[in-house]
Symmetry: C2
Subunit: 239 residues, 2 copies
C-alpha cells in the first residue's frame, strides 16, 4: 500500500452519548477513497482536553493526514483548537486574519462580534485557515492535522476546500458482484481467489432479503486491469 | 464520573472505504446511555490482525467493557475471533458447544456444515457464548471484551443478549431546550451556567432552519434533581 494514509478524529460528547449520529466519517471516507488517500483508522473521543491531545498525537505521528470534526464553535465546550495547539506544541491566540474575517461577517449580519464569537478566531500560530463558505468561522490546518467543524454541511464544505490541496495516490477502485448464496457457501473458493491476488482486497457482505441469504462480494484495488481480471474470475465462479 | 465505562471497536474495511455507513456505534451508544454505562471512546480499524490486536489491548486495559462489531463470519476476511484471542493471550479452536449449535442449525436448514461455516465455531478458550437468535453463529465474551457481528440486526440482537448481564450505574439523563438564537449569542451565559454545575455536562448544538440560526442546548447528568434545577435556570435564561 503506497497511497498516503489518513485517520479521522471525531470530537464530541453528543456522538458518544447517542444523541447525534455521526455522518462526517462516512462522508470523509468516501471522499478520501475517491482521491486515493487510504483512511486507515477513525476514533471518536469526548470533549475532554487530554483525550483530544492524546488521540491527535497518536494519529498525527502515524498517518500522513489527520482530519478532525467538531468543537470549533463559540461555546465553552468548544475546546478543539486549544487541544490541537497543545498536542502539536503551538501557541494559540486570537489571530488577526481570522478576527478580520469574522468581524466583517458579523458587521454584515448586524450582529455584535462579542467575546464568544471572538473565540472562533483562536487559531494556533503557524496554521493555515480552512475556508468556511457556510458560516465564515474558519477551520485550520496545523502540520498534518486538518481541523474542521462538526455540523455536517460545514464539515462537507471544509472537506471540499481542503482535499484539492492534498496529493493523493491512484484512487481505490471497487467492483462488486451480488450473489444469491449465503457467505458460508461461497467462502471457500472466494478465499482461494483472494489468496491469489494479495494486492487486492476482497470482502464479502452478507444480507438477508425476503428470507433468503445473499452476499455482496467486493473487490478493491488501485490497478484497474488487476481489478478487472479478478472480477472476471469471480464472475466465472459465482456469476 | 463513577459509572462503568466502555469503548467500542468497529472492525471492517468496508466502513473505512466508505462502502458501508456504520450504524452499530450509534445503536450501542444509545443502549449504553440507557443503562448507565458511559461510552468514552470508539474506534474503527481495518480487517488487519495487528491493528485489531493493538486496539483491543489498549481499550480493554482502559475501560470497564469493550464491545466489538464485525469480522466473525465464515470468510477469509473474518479474522476477529483469532485477533481477540491473540490480544488477550487465549488459545482458540473449534469449540464443541459452538460446533453443536451450528451443526444443528445447518442440519435443520438442510445445508452442509462445511469448513467455512465451521470457522464460525472458532471461539477462544474461556469465553462465554453470546446468543445469536437471528442466524445462530454466536458472538462471545472473553474477559471484558464482548465480540459481536457487524450485520446490524444481528449486532442489535447480540447487544440485547449481553447488556442485561452487565452492571450499569444510574442512567445518564438528558434534557434539552431549543432556542431560536445562534450559539454566539447564548455562549457567554450558557458557559457561566455550565461552570456552576461541574457535575453536569452541558452542550450546545447549532442548527440552521429556513435560513435562521438556532441552537439546541442539552444538559446531561445522572442526578435527576440536579438536571431539573439546571434546566429551570436554563429556561429562565433563554426560554
Amino acid at each position: 500500500m503506497t497511497n498516503p494514509t489518513a485517520a479521522m478524529l471525531v470530537i464530541g460528547d453528543e456522538i458518544l452519548s447517542g444523541r447525534t449520529r455521526d455522518s462526517n466519517m462516512h462522508h470523509l471516507a468516501q471522499e478520501l477513497t475517491r482521491i486515493g488517500i487510504t483512511l486507515r483508522e477513525a476514533r471518536v473521543v469526548a470533549d475532554v482536553h487530554d483525550e483530544i491531545v492524546t488521540a491527535v498525537r497518536a494519529l498525527s505521528g502515524r498517518y500522513t493526514h489527520v482530519f478532525t470534526s467538531g468543537g470549533i464553535g463559540p461555546t465553552h465546550d468548544d475546546i478543539t483548537a486549544d487541544a490541537i495547539a497543545a498536542a502539536l506544541r503551538a501557541k494559540i491566540g486570537h489571530r488577526a486574519d481570522a478576527m478580520a474575517l469574522l468581524q466583517a461577517h458579523y458587521d454584515r449580519a448586524g450582529l455584535p462580534f462579542n467575546e464568544a464569537r471572538q473565540r472562533m478566531a483562536r487559531i494556533p500560530e503557524g496554521a493555515t485557515l480552512i475556508d468556511n463558505p457556510v458560516s465564515t468561522a474558519p477551520g485550520f490546518t496545523l502540520g498534518n492535522v486538518h481541523v474542521m467543524a462538526g455540523v455536517p454541511n460545514i464539515f462537507q464544505a471544509m472537506v471540499a476546500s481542503v482535499l484539492p490541496k492534498l496529493t493523493g495516490g491512484p484512487p481505490l477502485l471497487s467492483q462488486s458482484l451480488r450473489v444469491n448464496r449465503g457467505e458460508g457457501e461461497i467462502a471457500g473458493p472466494f478465499g482461494e481467489l483472494a489468496a491469489e491476488y494479495p494486492d487486492l482486497s476482497m470482502g464479502s457482505y452478507p444480507f438477508l432479503q425476503n428470507g433468503a441469504h445473499g452476499t455482496n462480494l467486493v473487490i478493491r484495488g488501485t490497478d484497474p486491469a488487476m481489478v478487472d481480471a479478478a472480477m472476471v474470475r469471480l464472475t466465472r465462479l459465482f456469476g
